[in-house]
Subunit: 481 residues, 2 copies
């Protein structure tokens, strides 16, 4: 395809996307398809001959669109706000169009240096000091793995360069809570720590945050048994209920210990809130961590994938991740950042453009205003739910996630779980809205399933929450009839 053909097709595609976005709220939120249905719409073998762009657009509508769950729909309250701001989409389009390649500074000086600038701008925007140096990864799953790898090597004096993890006699320990994202355990397993060496530290049953005294006791017990505390993963906004592990108190525990575990702060979703100065108390002590990750590709709205990863000590990271084959060496080495040594992949996209475009075209004030709107909306819905008989908000609403149950009188735990899953599935299956059922054990031990309402889609306004709250009450009533 030559540039003139691209120009013609590109214009048509831009119109198609604009029209698709304009109609987002006309489509069901949850894709109304059965397993295998989208696959069955495609031929089993690749095409022999090319087709026109118009013909492909028709196929896109026919074969693909029915299988899209519309996370940009204003009635999407599932998982987390996975916004895809159109300003950042433009930056992503520029990245693809330029077709640059990040494998070394020399392969695209701009790709490296604009990433440095954007990571630094974002650092300032969430109020971190200039001791932090950042890079962009795909997801917080990957950054957690990277953090636990660096932690492993710090605890063993870079043993990877000799006998590896098997050469280390004393078991290396990782501390987190049961509320941490599933990627934390996955990262620990992939890094080789082993399930037995992941300590699930107690949480406070009300706040659902890590109890520092329990961390201290677990670390002390491990140390006295000859085990090495290697990493503490603090969740700053847990996935289930946006609970905030107390980073400052955790850092105190680490400081008092004779061991020096790496403190990784996982603020994947909640990091966006730190764009608001009034929210920063929630991660108080974050300057004392070793690494921080947060994802502009969630609530802030930078198009996936854009996970920021900050470290205080880039040298430790580079010593674990670096490679330097002759074909990647250049005369600039030593004077420049080589981001391949800051993560797992060698080849990197020009991801910083989508941050730059979003910041320049939307402006930070508009982003802050939108986030404050979402916090207000969540507080409004929390109040409505709390004041309604039979309904309860089962965890503190620190940000924009509300966890609820509707508890009919006299229900057993089992009946309650059936009821919860029935009403939430009725809403989700209808396509009118989407909420996430999740297991959240509460101190009353009544029911294990609850429903998470994650507020924050770019186009979600108060009237959408009013509509949702009506849907919820209707669905709960129907479930009982």
């Amino acid at each position: 395809m030559d540039p003139e053909e691209f120009r013609a097709a590109g214009h048509a595609l831009i119109d198609w996307i604009a029209d698709h976005r304009l109609a987002a709220d006309q489509r069901p939120v949850l894709a109304q398809v059965e397993p295998g249905e989208i696959r069955a719409g495609f031929p089993t073998s690749p095409p022999d001959t090319p087709i026109s762009f118009d013909a492909l657009t028709a196929l896109l509508e026919e074969r693909v669109v029915p299988g899209l769950t519309e996370v940009q729909h204003p009635m999407h309250f599932g998982w987390f706000p996975s916004n895809a701001s159109l300003a950042s989409v433009l930056g992503d389009i520029a990245s693809g169009g330029l077709g640059n390649l990040g494998i070394s500074w020399e392969s695209s000086p701009a790709l490296t240096e604009v990433e440095e600038v954007m990571c630094d701008w974002m650092r300032q925007l969430v109020g971190l000091s200039d001791r932090w140096h950042g890079t962009i990864h795909d997801t917080a799953s990957t950054t957690c793995l990277v953090a636990l790898l660096v932690a492993r090597e710090r605890a063993t004096g870079l043993e990877q360069n000799s006998g590896g993890l098997q050469a280390v006699d004393s078991p290396l320990m990782v501390y987190t809570t049961a509320e941490a994202h599933s990627s934390v355990a996955k990262a620990a397993l992939l890094a080789g720590y082993g399930w037995d060496n992941i300590r699930t530290v107690d949480i406070d049953p009300q706040t659902r945050a890590m109890v520092p005294a329990s961390l201290e006791a677990a670390m002390a017990e491990d140390l006295s048994a000859g085990r090495i505390p290697s990493a503490v993963v603090a969740s700053v906004g847990t996935t289930g209920t946006t609970a905030f592990d107390p980073v400052d108190a955790i850092a105190d525990v680490v400081e008092r210990s004779t061991s020096t575990p790496w403190i990784h702060v996982d603020a994947a979703m909640a990091g966006t809130a730190m764009l608001l100065p009034e929210c920063r108390e929630l991660w108080h002590g974050v300057e004392r961590a070793d690494s921080i990750t947060w994802n502009p590709h969630k609530w802030m709205g930078t198009i996936l994938d854009c996970s920021l990863f900050y470290v205080r000590n880039g040298t430790e990271l580079e010593s674990v991740m670096s490679t330097n084959p002759s074909y990647l060496q250049s005369t600039a080495d030593g004077a420049v950042t080589q981001y391949r040594d800051w993560g797992i992949p060698l080849g990197r996209r020009f991801r910083s453009l989508k941050l730059w475009f979003q910041l320049e075209l939307e402006g930070i004030e508009a982003i802050q205003t939108r986030i404050r709107r979402d916090l207000d909306n969540a507080r409004w819905l929390e109040g409505e739910i709390e004041s309604e008989d039979g309904w309860s908000v089962i965890a503190p609403v620190a940000l924009q996630t509300i966890c609820v149950r509707h508890v009919p009188p006299g229900f057993t735990s089992e009946q309650l779980d059936d009821h919860t899953l029935r009403w939430v599935r009725a809403i989700n299956d209808s396509g009118a809205a989407y909420l996430t059922p999740a297991r959240i054990e509460t101190p009353d031990r009544l029911g294990s399933w609850a429903v998470r309402i994650s507020v924050g889609v770019e186009n979600t306004e108060r009237h959408h929450l009013v509509a949702l709250w009506k849907l919820m009450r209707e669905a709960a009533t129907s479930s009982l009839s």
Copy 2:
């Protein structure tokens, strides 16, 4: 930014990209900037107020374009062909515009199932049997890490779910050659094997491919010493010289052994050649491997990032990678593929669209024709170089990579290296063309540096090679004067 603003800006951006691509050959290949120069063009703090799209485009030209190394330039012969076909760019634009989210089948059935279809189409197009199941990762660095993690767990009976790698007494061994990509050693270190447990198997000094008898001897020695052969990484097209490790003979060695190491085939660059039936003899035996990776985002031209990863046994992969938190469960579970369990990240982009768009809009025949053109061009240049006094091609040209030296009579090794680096840097610094200097030790032990010419940029035609060959002779002559 609302969809109508996006429409207006998007049209302007498409035009900007088309114009930028049309002028690719008018810009220097290597960015003509100093370290820090691009960074210095940006303010040190983020902007307070938004700007117009026109103003941003002007900044893009002013601040970013000078820092782009133009890998789409027809005189780019560095590293590998990092093509970014405009048909696939359209698919990437559609992916961003849709703003879908892959975290489970339910979060976007189309994202999952179109990926299944595209991986299957691509499987057929390179002649693999239907025993292979594929997924799309970012890069071959990541897929190699994933392969070595699965290998580690297969060798230890999924020890990650108990004591982890530290609980395994017998050292786990990885086998590859010194010619393997730097990401192989990096993956082994990150997976915890340790440098001492990476066996660098001998290569044939002429073909630069792994010697199966040396692999067999190394594995036998390890087994008799109580060490466990866990993984063999076979390079199908090495980075330096596109040497082909003999996969079939390697599989024979593994079959004769009492151990069962995982065989990972790294065909990152050369996989594209397998789109041509006449090239498939080069990876003969590939059906006997456990995993294969190849990157359409290189020579084939799918926009970065698109690294295909195929396994014969998806269950083994899933057992190492899977997580199943309650908030990701749905009634479709069990009936669908959950790609989050096929790799490291949870959140995934709709990457298959860029493959689909490229296959539909370009057509496989046009892609095959282009690859055959590149093979012809490389053979032509090889012939020219071989027939010129003082010049030599120092490794077999299996595909499109030509490794050369210009050897003035009577030069010592040191003089030769100086000369080689001088003439290649003169070309690169001029911006007229780009070639990669690389260390390649040859049996004559004369000189350690050589120059790699990687043919295969989408717009590189014979006349560009004619021009390159003229530049090379001129630069070598100048270097001596």
